[in-house]
Amino acid sequence: MTASHKPERRDFLKTGAVVAGAAIAPGVLFYGIAQGRAPEEGASSLVRWGMLIDTGKCANGCTACVNACNTENGLSGKTGPQDSQWIRKLNIKHLQTGIEHNLPMLCQHCANPPCVDVCPTGASMKRADGIVLVDRHICIGCRYCMMACPYKARSFVHEPLADQNPDVPRGKGCVEACTFCVQRVDKDQQPACVEACNADGHQAMLFGDLRNPESAIAKAMLAYASVEVRGDLGLNTGVRYQGI
């Protein structure tokens, strides 16, 4: 497991895949997915991870969550049309009233994810605890999931990568998206964006287990009206917004 996390080994696998792919693939598939816990432990369906975002508290111009995500997941932070953005600040202005909201937009970790439905190989998958991930060893880079996602939550890796976080496997030619920082969540930590938002004193993002009635997020969801983005699509998103 540790050996598999070394970048050189992954690089070797990348180039060697053409000749040896079929032979060695079964052994390395486990490690294609970002994860903190041992694979055999698995994720529990008793938990459903979710996020509640209070747009009223999200500050205009603040990008603490975006920066934290880039650092944690080894993204360049560049914002060209071909660069990956796992979380972005979205400013929305109502066409009639002119009222504005700021909010972070990220993979909504849908319970009925279109990206998983359309993925031909099964690389896009939903863990038992609701986190939607891409197994980067099975992804063939067809980008069908990007066509299917209603939130433009996914990015395609357009160029070779260097200096990566060993806990977050990424690779040229594969599609990727927010993982709820699964490598942290599996160690009982908060996603990097949530931590950064709190550290900046905004407290606009609340992360936790939607299935646990005692959790702060479950209580907040009962106390405040919140919405699913594009709720009309019936995807049952794990990320909810309040204040819109």
Partner: protein
């Protein structure tokens, strides 16, 4: 069928044959070099990005895949509906179905982010995915049409050609429906939110397939110095006209029904009137060049006596088909996705703005590889086997 003149008998056209192969080979070489270049540097060297994720290669690939199932229509009319002038053309129709599909799939595979994982793609199936279903349909198509060709060409298997032909007919309908559904399933995208996609793709496939067939047939007749019978050409050209007209009709219905839904207005205005280059490609490319002009040419007086005119009409249908695919695939992605309907959106990820796309030369080189594959396979096949359709006079009636 049995007295088909031999294509290679004494044609003494070896030089030209090798010349054609070299030409196709050169295009293929440029495709492969583009492929290796992109494979090495990543898709950053293409015009595609995180907003326009499917570009020119998909336009060409999907055109070929759709045309491949359509070209088999000629054989279906012959085998399933028993029309003689089409029966004569069944072997060529079956062959083209295979070579065109091979061309389309080749481009799709070469454009994958990880085309080296083709084994993974073939061993991991998500059966819920219409894309995976398509792969199964394509594989089945190769097998069934290959078998069908065998029944047509082998005397002993001949009695089987009818049932196998019928199976091929059903299979190709399913295949085109599945291809069309790739887009129909993308509910979040304004442009694809219509159940019409699957039937519309079937109609398109009829037109594109027959047009491809006509082009190849004309080339083969020219090569063998054979004059096509006026009656036969007249029948085929009229069939093409029906398909082209039906395609135009379906296109009109799609846009009219879209306009019926207020939430689709913005998209319709974008694609039909003001959106970048797309309205021009739609009206000029798909409707006028690919629809109206071919119809006028087909119905112009004396068209049945002029294979050249019909050839041009067929070529225009093919050009129009590519315009249609460009609008369907790229145009729909260029239109900003409404994440919050009713709101104006801005972000660092190009939300709320029209996404520009200009294909790089590499994509053009990659895209042309599909046609080159089809061309090479077809040229070799018709050289070594008997595919030339010969009409007997008494077959007309």
């Amino acid at each position: 069928m049995t007295d088909v003149t031999c294509f290679s008998a004494d044609c003494n056209k070896s030089k030209l044959f090798w010349g054609l192969l070299a030409l196709g080979g050169l295009v293929m070489l440029s495709t492969l070099s583009a492929y290796f270049y992109i494979e090495h540097h990543g898709h950053i060297v293409t015009g595609m990005n995180n907003q326009i994720v499917w570009g020119l290669p998909h336009v060409f690939a999907v055109f070929l895949i759709v045309a491949a199932s359509g070209v088999l229509n000629v054989a279906s009319i012959g085998s399933v509906f028993g029309k003689k002038i089409y029966k004569t053309r069944s072997p060529l129709s079956g062959l083209l179905a295979l070579t065109i599909l091979a061309g389309g799939l080749a481009v799709l595979v070469l454009d994958l982010g990880r085309s080296d994982r083709i084994i993974v793609a073939m061993t991991h199936y998500n059966f819920k995915s219409i894309f995976a279903l398509n792969m199964i349909f394509y594989t089945g198509f190769f097998a069934i049409v290959g078998l069908y060709l065998l029944t047509l060409m082998d005397r002993k298997l001949k009695p089987w050609s009818h049932p196998v032909g019928f199976l091929a007919f059903l299979w190709r309908l399913a295949l085109t429906t599945a291809t069309g559904s790739i887009f129909g399933f993308l509910v979040a995208r304004a442009g694809y939110n219509s159940a019409l996609y699957a039937p519309m793709f079937i109609i398109y496939s009829f037109a594109y397939g027959l047009a491809c067939f006509l082009v190849v047939q004309t080339a083969m007749y020219k090569w063998n110095n054979i004059q096509i019978d006026e009656y036969v050409l007249g029948r085929i050209k009229n069939l093409l006209a029906v398909f082209v007209a039906a395609s135009l009709y379906f296109t009109a219905v799609l846009h009219l029904t879209n306009m019926y839904f207020a939430k689709q207005w913005d998209f319709e205005r974008f694609i039909l009137v003001e959106g970048d280059t797309y309205p021009m490609i739609f009206w000029l490319g798909q409707v006028i060049v690919g629809g109206i002009i071919p119809l006028l040419m087909i119905f112009s007086p004396g068209a049945a006596k002029s294979p050249a005119r019909i050839l041009i009409a067929a070529l225009l249908v093919i050009v129009g088909g590519h315009a249609q695919m460009y609008v369907t695939i790229v145009g729909v992605q260029a239109f900003p996705l409404a994440i919050f309907p009713g709101y104006a959106e801005t972000s660092s990820f190009f939300d709320g703005v029209v996404h520009p796309y200009s294909p790089s030369t590499l994509e053009v080189m990659l895209a042309l590889g599909g046609m080159a594959t089809t061309f090479l396979l077809t040229t070799v096949a018709v050289r070594i086997l008997k595919f030339l359709p010969i009409d007997k006079l008494d077959q007309k009636h």
